[in-house]
Symmetry: C4
Subunit: 222 residues, 4 copies
């Protein structure tokens, strides 16, 4: 983003900086759903009710037994962080919106709102194929609907700024297609080995966060 920012600030005007209330409210609703979603994830990390006379050793054991919940908390937080970044990137380029965009965004927020459910499912029942498959399907919904939104908004520059470069449109689309393909593959892998599915999702998400640091190139990644 740093690369893009200075450019934009050159032609910055009050009208660039100030959004209409309409655009602001779609973003406010979305940010609210992201924030609540991120915070509700933690409700799944909790100790079972334990007898009072538990020993210190048993207690530490119970804490460590929470690691699958903690692991998927981190993974779900990372996907929400990346989803937020891309959402924010796309909405930065939007200058208009219409009925279709509002409802594509609502569909997207539904996928965000479902993440605490699928996270809890895979955290509690990580041994079942169906849990991992539902979790991966939730990731697929996020990347797939983002792809729909980007395609819809950029076709004939319907809803985006006229001065957006074609390379940028193509670049983000390619990234979103890659994410969608990987999330599809993760569903199939879940049916063979749930842990492998989670591992694949974790490696892909973390690498998408880390690669920009290695490149010393601060562009948004999906």
């Amino acid at each position: 983003m740093e690369k893009r920012k200075p450019k934009r600030s050159l032609k910055m005007s009050v009208f660039d900086a100030v959004q209409t209330p309409a655009e602001r409210r779609i973003e406010a609703l979305s940010d609210g759903v992201f924030a609540v979603g991120m915070t509700l994830l933690v409700l799944d990390i909790k100790l079972p009710t334990m007898p009072n006379e538990i020993s210190s050793h048993e207690f530490i054991h119970a804490i460590f037994a929470l690691w699958p919940h903690f692991g998927v908390f981190v993974l779900s937080f990372v996907i929400l962080a990346r989803a937020w970044e891309v959402h924010h990137y796309i909405f930065d380029y939007l200058v208009r919106y219409d009925h279709t965009l509002v409802y594509l965004n609502m569909l997207y927020l539904m996928a965000v709102a479902l993440l605490p459910f699928s996270t809890s499912l895979v955290g509690t029942h990580s041994n079942f194929e169906i849990s991992a498959a539902i979790y991966a399907a939730n990731f697929l919904a996020l990347s797939g609907i983002t792809l729909l939104i980007w395609n819809y908004a950029t076709r004939d520059r319907r809803l985006v700024r006229g001065d957006i470069q074609p390379e940028l449109i193509a670049w983000l689309k390619k990234r979103l297609v890659l994410s969608t393909v990987i999330n599809c593959a993760a569903i199939l892998i879940a049916l063979i080995s749930p842990p492998l599915c989670i591992l694949l999702l974790l490696i892909y998400q973390l690498s998408m966060v880390i690669i920009p640091f290695l490149r010393k190139n601060s562009s948004v990644a999906e």
Copy 2:
């Protein structure tokens, strides 16, 4: 909205774009309640505590047994999405507000906040007439209070922009009356057949989302 937007942008000025903090805060509170409401809906979709030695087949069965919860999650999300869109549409036309509007809006937010309760009720006890009736009554509260807000705000253009067309006022009012009548009917139908009531609400809500797409006409629908 697309139809309306270009028009407005012609006469756009800093004063059109920038809201006073007062208006912004009513919208911020409302968006917050919508966002938390949408996200809390998911807390109702959860597996019952299950024995550890459950078979994969039993687990899949338990997942599928969640479908009524998932179904009403989707329906409640759609009504909140549509309620948000109409709320946002109305507040876009407001240029003033007063004590009455603030408290009509609070009554409205109370109906939004109650939706996770009525959704959970009908998801868990869908076989009881009273559950479906309470759920439909919650929908009725949403459309009825919106109608009150719109009537109050537009009477003698009390709180809305002076340049709002009378056709637009009448059009939204007609839509809100229709929603209110259908939600009343749904309560009565609930007392005869709960599933029929849910089906009616689902068909009506989805059709109000889908019809604008068919018309290739992106106006807001209620």
Copy 3:
């Protein structure tokens, strides 16, 4: 507010309308806590786990048994609505803030965040004096801290606009003192009769919402 608005809009400028990010964020945090608080109240209204073979009559009975929870939900929602309105009214007059104001506001938000706890307590255990007393104490915290904030901000016009009328400062202070006294009285009454305490709080809060309508005078009330 309507009375005040037109006046202000006459001398409205970009600097009146646009807040600094700093002021906006205190309000955003506060609105978030209000919105989440309002929505969490509903988590307390839920049916106990019921046997599957329950009759329709027993189910309706269980629904009606929720009325104390529903009653305090409404009362708590009304106090939060009024608290939000006054908070918003006060912050509209603020032009500066300092360390003291930030932490008085944090103390206030703590009282808002505790309301779902005290509401749940009185909804579940309405027969105990201590429940009603804690609930009334939470109301007292809200009105008392608001009074502190108003006194602190208006002393020598420390943090408020220079053109604020002394009558307005005195009027809101008088209202807040009245609320604080009534909430103190409610704590004492709770120790004698919990239902009487709840009734007093309900009558006072509702009358403060309704009186402005009767007067056809849309000023903010506390």
Copy 4:
């Protein structure tokens, strides 16, 4: 802040007051996570299910037995209040952001989102060393990541305003280092005496809130 405000308002312009949507959304997401985090803390303060025929004396006893939960609620609220204040202070100086800052901030929000978990842990199992150590580690994560953000943003004034005084950069860094060291010490003390650890955290946090009042100096403290 009061000291700083008047200065800034002298050189205030539309561009100072109006943030770009991008900066606003990072703050909006952060404020949302803070607001939800603060409010979720209360979910941990609840009475156990009690028999119906409980005596008034037993009920009062059960209320008082909640004091550890209430105590850590207050402590966690105070740390979130202070964390919000410092976050807000830092973001006030930011004029740019990049991929690294976005993800450092996400890591920070993860620590905020985890606080309701660690608070619940230490509230329920305050007698175990590991609980207090995890709680102190959460405090350490908050101060440590804030230090990373401040160092990253201010190195060569990468992301902050050019006119920021070197003394201010050094002053906040010193404070953050102190917090980080104390939180490290708290983890070690937790392994010896959990109550002493909580007491240390409480004294430090409260003193950081109270000292500015004593000094009649309204600067931000960490």
